[in-house]
């Protein structure tokens, strides 16, 4: 059952195609990509269903419930559904489907998962402040030449490089 995994795409070609996807997003809809927004929508919907009183007093949630069709009928949610479908299709075509934990050689799977959760928490929090993540703020922002895009991109990667040494055990020998 071990099918040979197809190799990854040439990175420059992938970048080129990604650029075209981004360009067509702008051409058709006037906006670029974004990933964390959909996760935010799910959080908001969940909190709204589970604890509606806390939503009423909170400025963060208020905007999503005061107008319109609600947080789930949202451009980013549909984009994300497409991302999931597209990625699954690619994985299936390249025989890359399968449960797995990617990690550096020096740590255990358990540690990896703990750090993954921590990383996700930080990214979720940081993406709110940054009004986007690497796709929404940095990539899209750079394509339209916005200051926010370049600034966010530089701080993300700058911080990563500074901290890389201290956490090298997670990834390298």
């Amino acid at each position: 059952m071990n099918k040979v995994q197809k190799p990854y795409m040439n990175p420059y070609l992938a970048g080129f195609l990604l650029g075209l996807v981004l360009l067509s997003a702008f051409f058709v809809t006037g906006r670029g990509l974004g990933a964390s927004g959909a996760v935010k929508s799910v959080v908001i919907t969940t909190v709204g269903n589970v604890a509606p009183e806390s939503v009423a007093n909170n400025a963060f949630y208020a905007e999503y419930f005061s107008e319109g069709p609600g947080p789930m009928k949202n451009w980013l949610v549909y984009l994300t559904l497409g991302v999931l479908a597209g990625a699954f299709f690619s994985g299936a075509m390249s025989n890359r489907l399968g449960f797995k934990i990617d990690k550096g050689p020096r740590i255990s799977s358990r540690s990896r998962l703990l750090f993954a959760a921590a990383g996700g928490l930080l990214f979720g929090l940081g993406a709110q402040f940054g009004r986007g993540c690497t796709s929404g703020a940095a990539l899209t922002g750079m394509a339209v030449l916005s200051t926010a895009g370049f600034l966010t991109m530089m701080v993300i990667f700058g911080t990563g490089y500074v901290l890389a040494y201290f956490f090298r055990k997670l990834w390298i020998k």
Partner: protein, 204 residues
């Protein structure tokens, strides 16, 4: 595999380059010969300081400022011969954009002063010249006969600020409204424009 994909990349970029160059060529060839953007022309004429009102013309004549401009009479050659502004050349409106005409108008650089027997014709010529790159274009308000009578012969102060766009009547007196159902006068309402707001959004 990598080589094949690099090849695809190469071909794709070349394809885009070719399409891009063709689009630019089409743009270059098909675009009409204007030297100024439409929006720029609009903001120039919306300023409304091209129009020289009778009072200003009077001052320009007495201080000999007219010599700085190429004076262009847009009327027919027949009317031109009967009498015109001293020093003016005759370019009938229909011949305005001919090569020879444009050359004649460049005598004083880009400074041109236009007039006609119809103020709107002078203004039309001004718009065309501005879009052709002339950046100092003026027009005389009112038609030539009016100017002749009220400025050139003897200056009539009552005409100082006269121009064709001045409202000559109180229009409301003529489009009166009859009584409404309850007897109160009904004001004719202009058509209401409904606006539909389509938002582009963004974010992560």
């Amino acid at each position: 595999m990598n080589k094949i994909q690099a090849n695809i990349l190469k071909n794709a970029t070349l394809l885009f380059a070719i399409v891009g160059i063709m689009a630019l060529l089409v743009q270059w060839i098909a675009a009409p010969d204007y030297k100024a953007e439409n929006e720029a022309v609009l903001s120039t004429i919306a300023n409304d300081d091209q129009k020289i009102l009778p009072l200003q013309l009077h001052e320009m004549i007495t201080t000999n400022q007219l010599a700085n401009y190429t004076l262009v009479d847009l009327r027919s050659s027949h009317l031109f011969n009967v009498g015109t502004l001293s020093g003016a050349i005759n370019i009938p409106f229909a011949d305005l954009l001919k090569k020879g005409s444009l050359k004649q108008m460049k005598k004083h650089g880009n400074s041109v002063l236009l007039f006609s027997d119809d103020e709107s014709q002078a203004v039309a010529a001004a718009v065309l010249l501005i879009s052709k790159g002339f950046d100092d274009v003026k027009t005389l308000a009112n038609d030539y006969d009016y100017i002749k009578k009220n400025v050139l012969e003897t200056f009539d102060p009552a005409s100082a600020f006269s121009k064709s766009e001045k409202a000559r009547f109180d229009y409301n007196r003529f489009f009166r409204t009859g009584g409404g159902a309850d007897g109160a006068p009904v004001r004719t309402q202009p058509k209401i424009i409904q606006t539909e707001i389509v938002k582009t959004q963004g974010g992560c």
